[in-house]
């Protein structure tokens, strides 16, 4: 439960924090819990065998009013969620330094911490915040990275995620994907009236925001490249239609509503096109809509089912699911030539393929022993491995840095979201506190 995650305030409060500010901080934290009622809760279920010990010291705040977010806590949770780090409990910390001169390496060596993150939050002249951070290598007794992020008054958590991204990149060489979002579909059939919702939350499950609510199914959210819009399928007219909606303004446009299927929208890497599935010409086929010229081009032509388009990194190919060989498998079509090749051969049900950012790994749903798992196929080596052992796993969506895959699964008969690292070593569940949640779509990097 979220309440259990209430932060532990520093035992030794920074000098500038008065008692009144301290209690104000507790009060504002309690207030913010109610706003989280629709949020997702992350439960880490599996991490790497030897996670790297790291300490994130509470950030110093020099402003007047209490902050309603604990930036260090945000960073701590991000790094833990990656499964690659084990963060030090605050209650074990011997000191709370926030600038380089106050760091006593010996204290941190004693606590077997390998890396140390310190920082401070400063108010900006425009009413927002500036976050300064520094990362130290405790063994080498040296600063590795440091920097500054600033934002508006509602951006404190986002600024924390930016620090997490920078720390993660400095320590792993891979750009962090903590300051990203997930779109997902929630449904509750047990309430009256039953509903379907499209929601967007931060990648850590916070700040869930309703984008659309309907009495009819909502499906297949897909992010625009700039992460400002979502394309999705809604049955609100009792028939499927593809919509594009600006997630900030709420403004939306119906893109296609032909007779039959209008489904599986997928934004091209250049952001100018939308691949989709239409059955207006007889059965499910892949089409590409140029969003500027509005020109619609048919890509596949086969009496079998062709669906679930996903773009290659260079935008020159489209991966899709087809049962043209008898059973669903992943194929790839080259847009210029129309040349189609089959990519998967292992197993008799492989579907909903998508590629990691580097194009090396194909993430998909694969059936083995009548169970549906998330699998990954190394396109260089041609080997397929299963990332999940649960059944009914579906809708995998890869983080923009290729590190994690978010997907939906069933636990106790309910759909929940879960995530697994691309190497299968790290797992966490993201259950919702009402109804069921499914079809997660991980956003691109936010600008």
């Amino acid at each position: 439960m979220r309440v259990n995650k209430m932060i532990q305030l520093p035992q030794r409060a920074p000098k500038t924090m008065s008692i009144s500010v301290f209690s104000a901080a507790v009060f504002s934290l309690l207030l913010s819990f109610s706003a989280w009622s629709q949020s997702l809760v992350i439960e880490i279920t599996q991490g790497v065998d030897n996670p790297v010990p790291i300490a994130v010291v509470p950030f110093q705040w020099s402003g007047v009013n209490a902050l309603n977010e604990d930036v260090a806590q945000v960073i701590d949770a991000d790094l833990e969620r990656s499964g690659q780090f084990k963060s030090l409990k605050r209650s074990l910390m011997l000191s709370f330094p926030y600038q380089k001169d106050d760091v006593y390496y010996r204290d941190w060596q004693y606590l077997a911490t390998e890396y140390l993150v310190i920082g401070q939050v400063l108010p900006t002249s425009t009413g927002g915040y500036q976050v300064d951070y520094q990362l130290f290598d405790v063994q080498r007794q040296d600063a590795i990275a440091g920097g500054r992020f600033s934002g508006g008054k509602n951006d404190l958590r986002a600024l924390g995620h930016s620090v997490s991204d920078a720390v993660y990149e400095a320590l792993t060489g891979l750009k962090g994907a903590f300051r990203t979002r997930i779109a997902y579909v929630a449904a509750d059939k047990k309430v009256n009236p039953s509903y379907y919702k499209l929601l967007v939350a931060d990648a850590d499950g916070y700040n869930a925001k309703e984008i659309l609510k309907s009495s009819q199914p909502i499906m297949s959210p897909s992010w625009s490249r700039d992460a400002t819009k979502l394309a999705y399928v809604s049955f609100e007219t009792n028939r499927p239609a593809i919509y594009v909606q600006d997630i900030t303004t709420g403004q939306r446009e119906r893109i296609k509503s032909f007779k039959g299927i209008n489904g599986a929208p997928a934004w091209s890497p250049d952001g100018g096109k939308l691949a989709m599935v239409l059955s207006k010409d007889g059965n499910a086929e892949i089409y590409v809509l140029d969003l500027t010229s509005k020109r619609l081009t048919r890509v596949t032509k086969h009496y079998g089912i062709d669906t679930e388009p996903a773009w290659s990194v260079d935008g020159k190919h489209i991966l899709f699911t087809s049962d043209r060989g008898g059973k669903p498998q992943i194929y790839q079509v080259t847009l210029d030539s129309g040349w189609v090749e089959r990519l998967t051969f292992e197993g008799d049900y492989n579907a909903r393929g998508s590629l990691t950012h580097d194009g090396r790994f194909l993430v998909l749903v694969s059936r083995h022993d009548d169970q549906f798992h998330i699998a990954v196929q190394d396109l260089q080596r041609g080997t397929m491995s299963l990332l999940t052992q649960t059944s009914l796993d579906e809708s995998p969506s890869v983080a923009p840095n290729g590190s994690m895959v978010i997907y939906s699964t069933q636990v106790g008969g309910r759909d929940i979201l879960a995530a697994v690292s691309i190497d299968g070593k790290v797992k966490f569940n993201i259950p919702a506190n009402e109804g069921v949640v499914r079809e997660p779509a991980w956003s691109p990097y936010l600008n």
Binding site: M219, P240, I261, S279, A284, Y349, R352
Partner: protein, 213 residues
Amino acid sequence: MQVGNLSKIIASSVLVAFLTACSSTGETTDASASTQASQVAAEAAALAEAQALKDAQAQAAAQAQVEAQAQAQADANAAQQAANDAAAQVLAQQQQAQDAAKALAHVIYFDFDQSTIKAEFRTALNGHAAYLSQNPSARIVLEGHADERGTREYNIALGERRGNAVSRYLVVQGVSVDAIEVVSFGEERPVNAGHDSASLAENRRVEVRYINY
């Protein structure tokens, strides 16, 4: 009654003519006067008779017209009644046909990842086909559904394939393509929320939904 009236008119005319003839001859009782009187009387009687006949004819004609009108009205009423009866019968038949169509199975079930129409559903589909071809204004939506296994968009395509299979079956039986619309909901609208194989089987279906009968 009409004949009675006419004889009264004639009788009274003859009487009037006779009295007139008598009065014009005064008290004279000679033969010539008597003959003259009876001639006048006869003429008057003939005149009266002609007039009476004419009147009678006119009256008869009027009467006939009234009668014809009444008959026509009666005939029209009868025709209307017959038409009403026929319409009611058609309506009743239609209602019966509609009830029969309503009584048919409206859900066709399928095997996993299959869109083959099983033999057990042909009777129901034949019934729908018969109703639809006899009632050209009837419209149906075939809602295709899949169970939760497999990916969502693939299941949308699978639901449509099932809907199309049912549509083709009906068209082959003589139903107009224009009477049918196929809409697939994939796995998004299960009828049974369970996850056991019996529940899943209930969800792999095409629902025949009449928009109008």
